[in-house]
Amino acid sequence: MSLLEVRGLTVAFRSEGRFLRVVEAVDLDLEEGRILGLVGESGCGKSVTARSLMRLLPEPPARIEGGSIRFAGNDILALDEAAMRRLRGDRLAMIFQEPMTSLNPTWTVGFQIEEALKLHTDLPAAARRERSLELLRRVGIGAPERRLRQYPFELSGGLRQRVMIAMALACGPDLLIADEPTTALDVTVQAQILELLARLREELGMAILLITHDLGVVAEFCDEVAVMYAGRIVEHGRVADLFARPRHPYTNGLLASTPRLRGRRGRLPTIPGSVPPPDRRPPGCPFAPRCQRVLERCRSAMPGLAGDDGHLAACWNPVR
């Protein structure tokens, strides 16, 4: 059984008196120790999906309207807040896009790393400190004794993201959710952070949900990939399969307009037209207004995910 199993996750936001669905019927599967890439253009619902998994959405205005999230035997959407708190930071951890603003400016690095240990273990202070030092070394931070005493404003963006990772790893989580962990960093630092994540996965055996809008990153670091468009998963499969034989016209378009994939980092290549915002999504397939393979039925009925051998696409007229 998978470590993480998401079925039909639907999330709406209240806006001007009505609820708009920004994430719709999302399915995801992630097995222990694997890296799943969640890829899609900005605003397609990646962060909302990620935060739903940890129940970190602000409710209101957010509302989870349906679906189920199973994580390591827990029914996440049914847990009470206390049980959810016990999972957060312990077995489920998360790092964010903005390392510059994601650390508390008024507490030391040491305090913030040790906090998860304080909350989830009964290690004595000396052992917590020992563990914090070990975590900093593990994420490749030199002079860890000094770093523990420093404040976030004294560190560079890359170092802060490493601190965030050390913090997330404190209790040895089964799943690390990394929401665009390198988008805000310099290109060289991006590569270092991604390589660090890949190495940690090898060493610690945790699963990673890696959110990105960069297909190059997916190709290089992920085992599986889910492509998201306008709040829905439109294609899902092993990286090798999906990159070699994309089935959804959206994925196909993305790959076709990416001339040299490996090692190339940047924004998703553009396809003519733009993503419809949540309040202007057409009935039927959300990609229909931009799709070259559009059929009559695409405009009225939403295709479900279908396919074989774990390679699924939501399309009435797939490329292959």
Binding site: R85, R88, F96, L103, T106
Partner: protein
Amino acid sequence: MIGYIARRLGQAVFILIGISLVTYVLVYLIPADPVRQIAGRSATPETVESIRRQLGLDLPLWQQYLRYLGDLLQGDLGRSYIQKTEVATLIASRLPATLELMAGAILLELLIGLSAGIYAASRRGRPADRAIMVASFAAVSAPQFVVGILLLYVFAVQLGWFPIGGYGTLWHLVLPALTLGLLGGGWYARMMRSAMIEVLRQDYIVTARAKGAGRFRILFVHALRNAALPVVAMVGLDIGIFMSGAVVVESVYGWPGIGQLAWQAIQRVDIPIIVGVTIVAAVAIVLGNLLADLVAPFIDPRIKFRR
């Protein structure tokens, strides 16, 4: 840090000279004649003139001021026209009551204002938040004497829990301090609420939640410290404001503070006391500000003492 404090105090001397000058000129412009007040209605013109000469009030303004400034720089605030006592002695005799009321008022302001503000922010948009906002609006717009008299009537006259007025024990302090604490607490509540709401939106609050921190921990460990700076600055300001006395509350409760001293001096055009109290208040404002600036780096490590 010692150097920093010395530099700040050095600057303060110039601020004080400026304030003494402005106060002196303003008081001089008041169309009331202090000599008439001292001499009384039936005094002969000769008596009036001799008093005027004695007090040096026959000299041009700039000479009067320079003489005053010379004394001031030696720590001499002059003598009261009416009571003939040293102004410094008069102020010193009022100082314990004023400091006591200041301490009580600031303590209650913080207690009431911060807890209400933090709670409102954590319940943003819900009935509890709205109720606190309405109450704090009422507090900041209520006149001091209305609240003072109301508390006096209910808790001293009707219930008899506290003395009806006067000064001495801690029981005497409760109602006047509570009056100031409730009214000032309204400002603190509003300020604390908006600062907390701003902080609770920050990314690092999500990080803390993702770590498994609970509501209480989020508010008091992660948010409060980041929202505390405006509060510290306001306490610094309050120290100055309360030093010049809480005139209305002191009158309602017969509290022998600097406010009463100043009020009487204004009625009698007792210029040395008026200027003296103003200068003492200015010193308190400068010290309060300095204190706030010294505390700030301990709250937010990004702030360093400026060189």
